[in-house]
């Protein structure tokens, strides 16, 4: 077991380096670099200006040298600073990551609280009208583009009832009510579309479990249906939940750009979008590194937890 964990950890390192290398080189080859943008504010941009600015920003060195420099400081925890505002990248990420994480967490909670009961119900009453309705509902939620639902939620209540979700981000521990009034509407929308996936997984899992021998045995023993379901089936439904967390880890860390834009949430998604538009290379690299690391770690934990949750995996 420990070997397995160690091996996975070690495998993380080349993966991250490989990914960060690609990102580093790729963003510097995008047409339109940051110097061009800075020059476009000037009355007169001559060759001389360009070189001075490049030197001031440290962009005049060869790319591979820049990369090594960046990697060495990143390993020590210094992700550099924004080329525009000189704010440290780590402080920017530290500011935005909790926001994104909270949104993702709320969305997951919404999705799980919807999906598990509906999934179980769907499995028990398989192929009945209820099952069809439940599955149809979840697929409908999947089929409507997120930005459209977000727009409807943002616009129509303001027209009909003079109400709109809170605009300003306030930390959860500072003012929980205001925070939730800001984060819940987008979290619910995200959760609804996530729930479709989770619901199907739960349903599938439940169906499998219900056919298992030990369920039949439990029933034969004369246990009540509800006890059978609660004790055996529910425990196994944790697996799709955990799977979902693993699958949606990028969302938890990387942000849901569309919802962030519509609901004015200062999260990681918008940070990246802006950084790409402004060609703020350190921020882009920093985000990819942090997101990559966090997601890989979450996936590792998810994979390990399978060992505890699913007896079949444990046997392997």
């Amino acid at each position: 077991m420990r070997d397995y964990v160690l091996r996975r950890f070690l495998a993380l390192v080349p993966t991250l380096i490989f990914a960060s290398l690609i990102v580093f080189f790729a963003i510097r080859s995008i047409p339109g670099d940051i110097i061009d943008q800075m020059l476009a504010q000037n009355d007169l941009g001559s060759g001389q200006d360009r070189q001075t600015i490049e030197a001031a920003l440290g962009l005049d060195k060869p790319v591979h040298e820049q990369y090594v420099r960046w990697l060495l400081s990143a390993v020590q925890g210094d992700l550099g600073s924004s080329l525009w505002t000189n704010t440290s990248v780590s402080s920017l990420i530290a500011e935005r990551l909790p926001v994104t994480f909270e949104l993702g967490l709320l969305a997951l909670m919404v999705s799980i609280s919807l999906a598990i009961p509906i999934g179980i119900y769907s499995a028990i009453r398989q192929d009945t009208m209820g099952d069809y309705l439940a599955r149809s509902f979840s697929i409908i939620m999947l089929s409507i583009p997120g930005f459209w639902l977000g727009t409807l939620v943002m616009v129509f209540p303001s027209v009909w009832w003079r109400w709109s979700p809170e605009l300003e981000y306030v930390g959860f521990f500072e003012d929980p009510l205001r925070n939730l009034s800001h984060m819940l509407p987008p979290a619910i929308l995200l959760g609804l579309s996530l729930s479709a996936v989770t619901m199907r997984m739960t349903r599938t899992m439940m169906l499998e479990v219900l056919r298992q021998d030990y369920i039949r045995t439990a029933r034969a023993k004369g246990l009540r249906e509800s006890v059978v379901i609660l004790r055996h089936a529910l425990r196994n439904s944790l697996i799709p939940v955990v799977t979902l967390i693993g699958l949606q880890a990028p969302l938890l860390i990387g942000g849901a750009v569309v919802m962030e834009q519509i609901f004015a949430i200062p999260g990681m998604g918008l940070l990246l979008l802006e950084a790409v538009a402004q060609r703020d290379y350190p921020i882009i690299s920093g985000i990819f590194l942090v997101v990559g690391l966090a997601v890989l770690l979450i996936n590792l934990v998810v994979d390990l937890s399978y060992g505890f949750l699913d007896p079949r995996v444990r046997r392997q």
Partner: protein, 296 residues
């Protein structure tokens, strides 16, 4: 000496196809309807140029923002263009993007998944780590960066979305291949000296077809939605080529009050197609391989 085998649930030979469709209609009517709806849209997409009553860019400022009526089935937009024609052509564009991206994605999934799953060993480990690296990033994030690099355009979007979903889907194909690898038929074929290529062609590929088929259908829906999301962020297929996502996120949102049909038409089409294809994919999955119900 060859051992031919066709697993009971393979739909690759002609007569079982008809029987399969019959079973679909009987046991999964919703799925059948979904499939039919999708085919209808596909048909409209293919013949859009013939079906569209007006030209795509036929602007006429005198007739702008006219509601649905006899002359214009779905009304006109803010430049006086016929919305119905734009929906048809937009459907064509959306379908082309969706089907090509999904096909490209499926091919990549097969390529990576089969090679990785079948040959295993260090190649598999390295590939899986690369896939891991790719999948750590949220979809939209990757798309934003790549589109920024290669610029907006229909071809670029197909390429990017295909790559994104292809690499993601390779996992599923790989697990199916791994399951197949240790099956009776393959072991027997190997022990009788059949070459890898032969085994891949005759045993592995036909048996993962169900997985691949379902994967393909889900990808089509996912691509349509992804393109809509990209259009919202300004990175989708650029004008003058209309797409449903572009119409919904652009003039649909701007003219929500002055012309609700500008949003209703593309929004409904988009949602209906994605819904239909998902329902069809579900039914397909249920029918083809009961063991596969857990796969995404």
């Amino acid at each position: 000496m060859s051992i031919t085998t066709t697993p009971a649930t393979s739909p690759t030979s002609p007569r079982p196809v008809a029987a399969f469709i019959g079973r679909l209609i009987r046991t999964k009517p919703l799925g059948a309807v979904g499939g039919a709806v999708f085919l209808l849209f596909l048909f409209c997409g293919v013949f859009a140029d013939l079906l569209a009553p007006y030209d795509l860019n036929d602007t006429d400022m005198a007739r702008r923002l006219v509601g649905p009526g006899a002359a214009h089935l779905f009304g006109t937009d803010h430049l006086g263009r016929d919305v119905f024609s734009r929906i048809l052509i937009g459907g064509q564009v959306s379908m082309i993007v969706a089907v090509s991206a999904a096909t490209f994605a499926t091919l990549i999934s097969i390529l990576i998944g089969v090679s990785s799953g079948y040959f295993g060993g260090p190649y598999d480990m390295v590939t899986q780590r690369a896939v891991d690296a790719w999948m750590t990033f949220p979809d939209l994030v990757l798309l934003i960066v790549v589109i920024a690099i290669i610029g907006p355009g229909m071809g670029q979007i197909v390429l990017v979305l295909g790559l994104l979903y292809g690499i993601g889907g390779s996992r599923i194909v790989r697990s199916a291949v791994i399951a197949m690898r240790s099956s009776m038929y393959v072991t027997a074929a190997r022990s009788s000296g059949a070459s890898d290529l032969y085994i891949l062609w005759r045993h592995i590929l036909p048996n993962i077809m169900p997985v691949v088929l379902v994967l393909f259908t889900t990808r089509v829906g996912a691509v349509i939605l992804a393109e809509a999301g990209l259009s919202f962020l300004g990175l989708g297929v650029p004008p003058p080529a209309p797409t449903w996502g572009g119409m919904l996120s652009g003039s649909g949102r701007t003219y929500m009050y002055l012309g609700p049909w500008l949003a209703l038409a593309p929004g409904l089409c988009l949602s209906v197609v994605v819904y239909a294809i998902n329902v069809f994919g579900d039914a397909l999955r249920d029918l083809l391989d009961p063991r596969m119900r857990g796969a995404r």
